[in-house]
Subunit: 174 residues, 2 copies
């Protein structure tokens, strides 16, 4: 049964990732209707401090960073789970591309950098508002607009599996 | 002649990188003696804002981030070169490692994250103090200690080639 559960969860996770890679136009109305997703980008998120970097291999081929607001950073640095209400975590994703200008200087294909932005994802902790999804509101933005709610349905079932870290995949880089 | 010059510069760059990958014990005395390198880590650099992430393939196999102090971020966001005096740019490097806990959930080896910290490099702009190296002071730290001055000699000749961006390789990720 355990193996079967893991298999199902893996399928769900992969399906979620496949959905994420399909460009979905932003439909704010849809997104706000059914489930309480995050449909507005938190102001000032680009000024948040750096939690860690992340590279996703394979089809996603993504390079990016996870940033956190002050509440998130405090919790991360104290190593305290679960994250308190008010936590905002932002994942900024870009195409993972070789830097031609750097590699010309290095004399080989060595430097990979963020290329075109692909999407920005948010997790916002609010135990009452997002009670149905473990206290976390999930947001998924392309070109500054929320994607269709259907595309955000897969966030929670996948994040839910990160049981050791209050559903947050990214750990703090010292 | 142009080709020859590029070939020589490539060799210098590669040699520099090879030197960087050799673990060098910290010798603060050596480092402070000869050239004006940065031999003390700027306080509070971990709280700087995020400029961009970076992945170095090959032997370095590094994943990290570049952070900037307020002066650096302002210049980056205004797209103004050269960077003004007071600019501090920090490059935090880690081993690029697969995240077993994430990949177990994803069902494939997809997620790569910063592993053990390898080194932290700084560039500090001070046109008078670092006049001999284009106004930039270079610093290279392992375990919080500056590496031997010999290992820092290769910073400038390589960075100097990034002529379009005031010797800074990393561009701002929007």
């Amino acid at each position: 049964v355990k193996h079967y559960a893991f298999f199902v969860s893996a399928i769900v996770a992969i399906a979620g990732l496949l959905i994420f890679t399909v460009p979905a136009p932003g439909h704010a109305d849809e997104a706000t209707a059914a489930a309480p997703y995050v449909t507005e980008m938190p102001q000032g998120y680009r000024d948040y401090q750096w939690v860690s970097s992340a590279h996703e291999a394979g089809n996603l081929n993504s390079l990016g960073a996870v940033l956190g607001n002050d509440i998130a950073m405090k919790a991360y640095r104290e190593g305290k789970y679960p994250f308190p209400d008010g936590t905002i975590i932002a994942a900024l994703h870009y195409k993972n591309v070789p830097s031609d200008e750097n590699n010309k200087i290095f004399g080989k294909v060595q430097s990979f950098v963020p290329g075109a932005p692909t999407n920005i994802q948010f997790m916002i902790k609010n135990s009452s508002r997002y009670a149905a999804t473990g206290g976390w509101g999930f947001g998924f933005f392309e070109n500054g607009k929320p994607v269709a709610a259907a595309s955000m349905k897969s966030c929670y079932p996948c994040h839910e599996k990160a049981t050791d870290t209050d559903m947050v995949f990214t750990r703090y880089a010292p």
